[in-house]
Amino acid sequence: MIDVTLISFFVLAVASVASALGVIFFRNAVHSALSLILTLLFLALFYLQLGAMFIAIVQVLIYAGAIMVLFLFVVTMLASEASDNEQRDRIPWQRGVAAALGVVLVGALSYLLITGATINANVKASGANSLAATVTKQGDTQAFGLALFHGFAFPFEVTSLLIVVAILGAMVLGRKS
């Protein structure tokens, strides 16, 4: 009997890798951006499959929604001049080397992961710390929120500072000098 989870995993894996390849191989930047949106959606599905509901929603909303809109906006703004093939590549050998090194990296990482990566039961959370327990008790989003505002309150606040700085930086850079 064929497992639905297994099938969905393979479908998602192939789809996301294919769309990721599309990001870097489309000549037109708009196509690349659309392909990236597709990749992000597939990843959101992965998250759903892994039970991370809140993250999946946020992925769609923030990445596919906000960030990619920004990307598309800039791409269309610069599109006419922003074609990759206006000039000859000055370091053509880099493509071959990069591809070769990429294959080596994927090979080495896959080898390591397949042979070595197992989850040690000792490091698994259990009891009240367990995510599954909290989710069944309070629901997914509540579990996330509780963790965020208890254990991760300080990083969260620092993030807000980071965003303020980023906004200021973008304003300064965007000003007409």
């Binding site: 995993f9 990721a20 990307f71 610069l78 922003a82 990482l109 989850i119 698994k124 963790a147």
Partner: protein
């Protein structure tokens, strides 16, 4: 049958490497940026996978933080690209090579 965690990680590694290849091969900074987003998302995938398999919410926390950082980075990065484009009318990264020895 449950899927081993390493499968997710292999997918993550492949997408990450595609991101690297994009950075190395493409000359349009916008596409390089998108490749970086790919790399970030690949890492996010492994975080969520770990979160699931370790039955802990911490991995999702990291994803959440990476998301915000990525948003901030994109905002600033795109602003820089736009301001470079304003002055140079050209955004080929290979033209930005005044550090050549």
């Amino acid at each position: 049958m449950s899927i081993p965690v390493s499968w997710y990680l292999v997918v993550s590694a492949i997408i990450f490497t595609i991101g690297i290849a994009g950075v190395l091969i493409r000359r349009n900074p916008l596409i390089i940026f998108m490749s970086i987003e790919l790399m970030l998302n690949a890492v996010n995938l492994s975080f969520v996978a770990f979160s699931h398999y370790l039955d802990s919410v911490d991995g999702q926390m990291f994803v959440f933080l990476v998301l915000t950082v990525a948003a901030a980075e994109v905002v600033v990065g795109l602003a820089i690209i736009v301001s470079i484009f304003r002055t140079r009318r050209n955004i080929d990264v290979d033209d930005m090579n005044i550090l050549r020895g």
